[in-house]
Amino acid sequence: MTGMEPTPATALDLSARLSWRVAKNALMTALMVLAFLVVAVPLVAILWSVIGKGMSTAFAGFPDFFIKEIPVVSRRPGPGMGPAILGTLMVTGAATLLAVPIGILGAVYLHEYGVTSKFARLVRFMAMVMTGVPSIVMGLFVYIVWTLRTGYSAFGGALALACLMLPVVIGSTEQMLKLVPAHLREAAYALGASKSRTIMTVVLPAALPGIVSGSLLAIARAAGETAPLLFALGAATAYNPHLFDGASTALSVQIFANANTSFVGSQERAWGAALTLVFLTFFITLVARIFTSRLALKR
């Protein structure tokens, strides 16, 4: 033990057991630092693998990997994740358009109308239950109510992701609405604004950075989800720009499918797709952080 410095609080205590107590304190502190390193190691290892193995695939003969279609025979090496990138953007985008407005409206109900009414408390409780629904259950649910009737489509995947995002958006938005000071609302009412107008022009704009940041974090999580998409998307290898029609694919689904094979070519594509997906989710999270820091500045 070299880093044994007594904390100021114990410096005065000179009892015989002091050295043992200080040593125990140092040991525990060292264990805490060690625990942090234990967590950091897998993170570094994963990013190392994804970047190291992904770069060589994704940037060999640059834009090919991001543009070309996926090889039909999966063991064939060579580029192509274009349709999966398009699919991820379409599915996540459509899910965002579904879940974010509805989620914000739901949160507006909870905080501005229902507050402590029985119905509001029920909805709040059920939204909490809904955040715990395993993503694969959501995928099967959407398969039963949507895909069985309409066939494979990107929209089915978007529905499943939207179901996962909805309670998260409701929860984070309600937290942000709580931060809007009551006197802003009262000022609007005093000027004669109706309740809906107050919410639309005063409350929501005041809470906007926080709502955007919370929604972006939900989007980042949704973009990386695989299980809900397994049943709804089908397995396309070519571009499919139709949202409501025909099989599609996504980066996460491609990673899952290719990781399960023993062919070097498809494993390389999986690493390339993983790099693309990690970059996408990190980027969205970064934008969310920027909004959060703006929020902190305003306060």
Partner: protein
């Protein structure tokens, strides 16, 4: 809450009512979706449940061609991997949360939190990809060494060591839960060895046929739930009143003694809740587990180096080739998973809320 506006007449009023109903509709959607999930999923799982009855949950044979669906190995696999994950993740997460809140200099706090949160942003399929292509190949050698080491020890050694650690913990504080678990567990293992002459540890750390196993799934899941448990634990720990901590320090406690005396008693309930939320998340996680658990037919075994299967992994891997009754069985698995995770989550949030309410009342 702001007070209601004066009642208004005129065109604004109708828009107001419309907006109100839209908001109510959006909120009701949560109830509608959950209701539909329960209804449609249960409905679709009826064919297999009426055929298998309770055998669905209690038998081990899962064979689609024979029309036999016993889900016990998958339920076992889900619980076992989740427990391994939590056992690995909890001490680490707690230590990291304490490090960030109590030890790290204020300037470092934010970057440290960012690093942990970064883990939460990595998509689960990427964990799975890394687990199957990088980790499982290397970790098999570790498993082998552990198995050989354990098998070479005399049968009484491990029970005695566990018992000694437990007794040591109990000597320092008699109410240490970990101490009791280790002491009683070690004692039972020792008694079993003395009575039957067989020892359990080599069975738990069995020979590793391949790198994909319950343990590998547990490790990957543990990495994935560390950020969740850490951030919840951080929130709980930060509610410890500064006066409690200062009182301990003023009495001459070292930092660790302050944590033992002030932080732990204050946040015990919330920490238990955080652990249970992590457990719920670990059980529901699909893709990473599906890739690294080995997807053998599934066995009910304590051997954590054996390959197995879990409920979500079976659903993800078998759905593509499933026929009607098989699909019904997979949906029944999903319903089972849904129920288990909801029960765990509900207990967790009840525990968290109760402890938060108590600490809010105290503060």
């Amino acid at each position: 809450m702001a007070s209601e506006p004066f009642s208004l007449t005129g065109s604004g009023n109708r828009a107001d009512t419309g907006f109100r109903w839209m908001a109510i509709g959006a909120a009701s959607l949560v109830l509608l979706i959950l209701g539909l999930i329960a209804l449609t999923m249960t409905n679709r799982s009826l064919p297999v449940l009426s055929r298998m009855g309770l055998d669905f949950f209690t038998t081990r044979r899962w064979s689609a061609p024979d029309g036999l669906f016993g889900a016990l190995p998958f339920i076992w696999g889900t619980l076992y991997t989740a427990v391994i994950a939590v056992a690995l993740a909890v001490p680490v997460s707690l230590a990291v949360a304490l490090f960030i809140t109590q030890v790290a200099p204020p300037l470092l706090k934010r970057p440290l939190v960012y690093v942990i949160d970064l883990l939460a942003v990595v998509p689960s399929v990427v964990f799975g990809l890394w687990g199957v292509l990088v980790l499982s190949g290397r970790i098999q050698r570790v498993y082998d060494r552990v198995h050989e080491g354990v098998a070479a020890m005399p049968g009484f050694l491990i029970p005695v060591i566990v018992l000694a650690i437990g007794a040591g913990l109990l000597l320092t504080s008699r109410r240490s839960l970990v101490g009791w678990v280790l002491a009683v567990g070690g004692l039972l293992l020792l008694l079993y060895f003395l009575v039957s002459g067989r020892s359990i540890p080599p069975l738990v750390f069995g020979p590793a046929a391949q790198g994909r196993s319950f343990a590998t799934a547990g490790v990957i899941l543990a990495i994935m739930i560390v950020p969740i448990i850490t951030s919840l634990a951080r929130e709980v720990i930060e509610t410890t009143p500064a006066t409690d901590k200062e009182a301990a320090l003023a009495l001459g406690a070292t930092r660790w003694e302050m944590i033992q005396a002030s932080v732990f008693p204050h946040s015990k309930g919330g920490l238990v809740g955080a652990v249970m939320l992590g457990l719920g998340r670990a059980m529901g996680e699909t893709i990473a587990a599906a890739l690294v658990i080995g997807s053998s037919l599934g066995q009910v075994t304590l051997d954590m180096f054996a390959s197995g299967n879990s409920m979500p992994a079976v659903i993800a891997n078998e759905w593509g080739e499933a026929e009607s009754l098989h699909k019904s069985a997979l949906i029944a698995l999903a319903v089972t998973l849904f129920l288990i995770t909801i029960v765990v989550n509900l207990i967790a949030s009840a525990v968290v809320r109760r402890s938060m309410a108590r600490s809010a009342g105290r503060a």
